[in-house]
């Protein structure tokens, strides 16, 4: 089959690789009908996440038709239509029973490595680093799904792929980001980053009843899309984020802040972000926590910082004393996708939201490598890419 494979920094190729096979009785094989490129894939593309190996298959936002199931998968059959969550989970361990699927204790097949690096393992993820199991991803014609009896979302026929695909990651991720804020009717929610995750966080915060949603980015079309979702916008390349946020909250700061940017925050003309760039260049620091610092500074005391943005390793010059003294609450993590998807699928079917609004590009798998660049550099108005294998 054909698949998009990682070959090093900014080197993704559409290769021919062996078809996946059932390896375990709880596996299923999916024929992929649609998959997408995620902002998290860009961290791998730019080689900021450790633990990738030459030839790894990319992709963790996938849907398709069940092709084959292992002997222990009794709740799926050939021909079922499924969306595959990016977090692989067993459904039985202590964490899964609590709904903390992204920290499933059993789905990471490189558990001992993860135990060493993270202290304790987290869940296996598709198309991500070997720290999270190194499972082949879904930017391919076929995908092997481990723990498939749990790791799937059954979806109805008759709704287009485009409307359902993002149940795999970015819709529940934006939703969890807003849920982590425990939004109250008087809240101002400030959201850094108007990429796909930020767009869904904006709409989730609105649907959950936030009084005011403020979105921050510098890419004009992403800001326009944020406004369409009901956000007041700040262009950080033109205005001071801290000043504008204080103005919009009568000097008090937003109660809730969401970091939908992560470790590759762009350098604004601030000293701290230039410092990050320099340190990252000489490998003294892995991540650029400019957004985190800004959130800690501007958030109202006793407020909540919700962090769906991905960080990989060490962060420097994080003003932790400020956060401690202000009594901030931090909520973060990879998304517990299946914890939310039944409810979100129902909301899609009720017509509360149609997630396909975010798609700007649809191409074949062979054009995937070019699309990584287009998406990363925000060329051609690109916000979300869907691939059709």
């Amino acid at each position: 089959m054909r698949a998009l494979c990682w070959h090093g920094k900014q080197d993704i190729r559409c290769d021919t690789v062996p078809d996946p096979k059932i390896e375990h009785p709880r596996d299923a094989i999916i024929k992929v009908t649609s998959c997408a490129i995620c902002g998290s894939d860009l961290h791998l593309y730019d080689n900021f996440m450790p633990g990738m190996e030459n030839g790894d298959i990319m992709g963790h936002e996938t849907m398709g038709i069940v092709e084959e199931v292992g002997s222990e998968v009794t709740n799926l059959k050939k021909g079922d239509r499924v969306v595959i969550p990016f977090t692989i989970f067993c459904g039985e361990c202590d964490q899964c029973r609590r709904g903390n699927f992204s920290v499933c204790e059993r789905s990471n097949r490189n558990k001992s490595l993860a135990d060493k690096v993270f202290g304790h393992t987290t869940a296996g993820l598709f198309g991500y680093t070997h720290l999270t199991g190194g499972y082949p991803g879904g930017q391919a014609e076929y995908l092997r799904v481990p723990f498939a009896d749990k790791t799937h979302i059954k979806v109805p026929l008759g709704v287009p792929d485009e409307t359902l695909l993002f149940l795999s990651d970015i819709f529940p991720t934006g939703w969890q980001a807003a849920v982590q804020c425990d939004i109250q009717p008087d809240d101002t929610v400030a959201i850094w980053g108007c990429g796909p995750v930020g767009q869904f966080a904006i709409r989730s915060a609105l649907l959950l009843g936030a009084k005011q949603v403020i979105a921050i980015d510098r890419v004009p079309e992403r800001l326009a899309m944020a406004e369409a979702g009901g956000a007041t916008t700040i262009d950080f390349s033109k205005d001071s984020v801290v000043e504008r946020l204080n103005e919009l909250t009568r000097g008090k700061g937003p109660e809730k802040c969401i970091d939908a940017v992560g470790m590759e925050a762009h350098a604004t003309a601030t000293i701290d972000s230039m410092y990050d760039r320099a340190k990252q260049a000489v490998m003294l620091e892995t991540d650029r926590p400019h957004v985190l610092r800004e959130m800690m500074y501007v958030c109202r005391p006793a407020g909540v910082l919700s962090i769906p943005g991905v960080y990989g390793g060490l962060l420097d010059k994080v003003p932790f004393g400020m956060a401690m003294n202000k009594g901030l609450t931090f909520r973060m993590g990879q998304t517990h996708v299946n914890r939310w998807t039944d409810d979100l699928l129902r909301r899609i079917e009720m017509g509360q939201i149609d997630p396909s609004f975010v798609i700007t590009h649809t191409v074949g798998l062979q054009d995937g490598p070019n699309m990584y660049k287009t998406f990363r550099d925000k060329l051609d108005g690109c916000i979300k890419v869907v691939l059709k294998p």
């Binding site: 709904g99 649907l207 079309e221 369409a228 009901g230 060329l379």
Partner: protein, 170 residues
């Protein structure tokens, strides 16, 4: 469509053009005779110093504006004026000097156009299409709280002591 890596270089070029505008403008204002001599426009000193004022204003605009794009297009317009004036010079007695100046201005005009294009933003039509991508069935204002039937799970609730006082009202 949007600002890209390449457009950072365009921003640097726009700055360079700003300094160039100011330098040329100052020369045109302070020493119009020298400029007309060099370009074969003898007798047009007042016109040249008025062009100098235009150059200085454009230069300041380029260096201080948050978005230099309109100012770069302003330069392109100014280039057209200069070229027209020099073309008249080519028809005059000092055609060689005017001709050389014409060609140099043409080169600079090409640079200005290239800079303006590199700074290009999404076309208004394209931007309008992003403004329509809400994903919501009704205007955002009408969708606020549409999902308030959602019950935040206990492990996602803010610690009781940190909740705002006015929550009971909501």
């Amino acid at each position: 469509m949007s600002r890209t890596r390449g457009s950072n270089q365009a921003l640097a070029l726009a700055q360079g053009l700003g300094w160039f505008s100011i330098a040329l403008g100052v020369a045109e204002v302070l020493a119009p005779h020298r400029v007309t001599r060099a370009t074969g426009l003898h007798g047009h000193e007042r016109l040249v110093s008025s062009y100098g004022v235009r150059e200085i204003v454009t230069g300041i605009g380029l260096l201080t504006a948050k978005d230099p794009t309109p100012w770069v297009w302003g330069r392109v317009g100014g280039d057209a004026l200069d070229l027209g004036t020099l073309a008249a010079g080519v028809a005059g007695p000092q055609r060689e000097r005017s001709g050389v100046a014409f060609l140099m201005t043409l080169g600079i005009a090409a640079l200005d156009v290239a800079c303006a294009l590199a700074l290009r933003r999404p076309l208004p039509a394209a931007m309008a299409s992003f403004r329509r991508r809400s994903g919501l069935p009704k205007p955002p204002g009408a969708m606020r709280g549409a999902a308030s039937d959602f019950v935040v799970p206990a492990d996602f609730r803010t610690p009781e002591a940190l909740r705002p006082l006015n929550e009971k009202a909501g």
